[in-house]
Point group: C2
Chain length 378, copies 2
């Protein structure tokens, strides 16, 4: 194989596919990036068997072929090459037991030679039969992920909790994305431009975290999302991301999203966020002190009492319903408030022990947060 | 005590003195910042008994007094206060065994109350009798520290190695700053504006690292550096930094700074730095692989050979003297090259086992680096 391309184009490609290189693996070949120049395009691929990423880069193929190079060394080298044209060339040596490949990377006065593996040994991405596809903008997909990813469970025995529900509604007009852990539920709904078949899949959180890093996030550019029985495929620009789905049935969350409430209040989001942020200063890491919200008349008093001291602050609200005093893990409030774009947010509460909801009128977003018992904490 | 000041002024002061708050200490009072408003100024002080910092902040004293507040909590709170006027007020309660102080911090709608200590319990900075003082610009001091601090020994039994020599020459016209470890020596010389008495002191590296963080670095503003028998005092702006000196005699480095050489060559600094940076990619952390420099004719060939692969690169040089092949720890070369401002640097070498020097014509800087044995490494 012999190819040339610009350093910047190569670096862009390597940065994209690197997201699918496993940190630990028992299969050394998976620690490689495959450079495939067997057809008319130069393709880079990485694949950890759960998540695979393939991207095309611009360049010239002088001699067709392919090679698998250790991802960490290759990406380190590419990053530090001069900003100029790069030539990548392989030489095969017939060894006694296995075929050895040496990769030569040249850029201006720099010459690297790196022992590599035959491209044929690489685990190619499986071919999947696309059954349905939906199209949303890169910007929307990025936003949806950001707005829900924080409430997946990172370390849970139940694999379903490590993923997010992607659900196309019965009438095919909206995409609903849901994540939850044992304390909260995050829901985002977005209207689809066309009408699609209803579908429910569970996408691994890791896939979404990596996708979020590599999607440019343009409002004008689209992502095509296709489904097969076991896989989800994201296509954008010159990149495809293929991920296994998590098997199983997601939780029946609609039963948990009650519409009843005894108290509803509106509050300025920035003011509230800064206030809760300050309240956390008196809570040591790992300590389970709640922040206490006392809603009375048109005032929200936020307070924290700990060994480190006492803090209280009043925030003006517009209220409807009865007075309530309720405690929360401040991080859960912050996580939700941080990803809401609106200037004003609306809280819905029933009593000090029932779930609290932060949601907008049209329910394009719903954040359910369970309160913390405050008896003996104040 | 009752004072008011702006949040920004308070934050600036807290950030400065926090550098002298010890991370670990057996004396809890040292974990505090002292707010001293007993005179006409508001002064903040922190002191870890080796290093003490005091700074004045603008504000209004409504009731004189002082208080010592836990530095971490206080600085966390100040950082997150609204950008507005802050009121700090203390209330004493006569307890059964000790006098307790409560500090109230108010800013807009936020109210904190924090248990604190009596200011009188704080370890004030010792009064030192200034014997001599020199004046240099903030910019120069910051540069000198940056250009030498990397070669102090962080973990050595010999305390002298953890400090830097500050030496005013016999004729009182130059300040020479020296640091060294077992592999290298860094020397910076700067002309003084006036003439001073000769003096040699060893300043703790930690002091210099912290000073470097808090000096604004203006070319127009001066730092006055005063000496006593056991202390060095830095005064700039509204801040003073007082540090103990390290006792003992510094090494006789002039004997090590030989002026003989067999090879002298000039090389473009940027080109060389980038090349050595790339060469380190094939060296695993902790591995003691040298980078090999082969100087022959008007060419410098840089190469590294490791299990991870091979790299070589040619850099043009202007040479005088004989050809040499020599190995170095690439980090030592990088450390020195990184802090040299000149576009072109000059190397002086004797043979593959003798120290190599990087220095300018007038010896305003000298970097001595010991080579590494390359037999069996290439």
């Amino acid at each position: 194989m012999k190819i040339t391309c610009s350093k910047s184009e190569l670096l862009k490609g390597v940065n994209i596919v690197s997201k699918a290189v496993p940190v630990r693996t028992t299969m050394p070949i998976l620690e490689c990036i495959l450079i495939d120049a067997t057809s008319d395009f130069i393709k880079l691929t990485a694949n950890d068997m759960e998540l695979g990423i393939e991207t095309m880069i611009e360049g010239e193929i002088k001699e067709r072929g392919m090679v698998a190079i250790d991802a960490r060394i290759f990406s380190d080298i590419v990053k530090k090459l001069p900003d100029s044209e790069v030539q990548i060339r392989t030489e095969k040596t017939i060894g006694t037991e296995e075929e050895l490949v040496q990769t030569f990377i040249r850029c201006e006065q720099t010459n690297f030679s790196i022992p590599s593996k035959r491209g044929e040994e690489f685990s190619f991405l499986p071919f999947i039969e696309k059954k349905d596809s939906i199209t949303i903008s890169e910007f929307t997909l990025k936003e949806i992920i950001k707005q829900t990813i924080f409430s997946i469970s990172q370390n849970d025995n139940n694999p379903i909790l490590k993923g997010e529900l992607f659900e196309i509604s019965e009438d095919g007009s909206t995409l609903r994305v849901v994540s939850l852990d044992s304390h909260r539920i995050s829901v985002r709904r977005t209207a689809l431009k066309d009408s699609y078949s209803p579908r429910k899949v569970i996408v691994p959180g890791k896939t979404l975290i990596e996708i979020n890093k590599i999607i440019p996030g343009e409002t004008e550019a689209d992502v095509v999302i296709s489904f097969s029985n076991n896989h989800i495929l994201f296509e954008f620009g010159r990149t495809i991301v293929l991920s296994r789905l998590i098997e199983g049935n997601y939780f029946a969350i609609d039963k948990m999203l009650s519409k009843d409430y005894n108290l509803k209040f509106e509050v300025n989001k920035k003011e509230l966020t800064e206030c809760i942020d300050r309240s956390t200063l008196l809570i040591k890491e790992g300590e389970k002190k709640p922040v206490i919200l006392e809603i009375a008349d048109d005032n929200l008093k936020i307070s924290v009492n700990s060994q480190m001291g006492h803090m209280e602050e009043n925030v003006g609200i517009v209220k409807e319903g009865k007075d309530i005093m309720i405690g929360f893990n401040p991080r859960f409030l912050m996580d939700a408030l941080r990803v809401i774009d609106e200037e004003t947010v609306t809280f819905y509460m029933t009593n000090s022990k029932a779930p609290c909801f932060i949601k907008d009128e049209g329910e394009s977003y719903i954040y359910l947060i369970l309160p913390v018992n405050i008896i003996g904490n104040n």
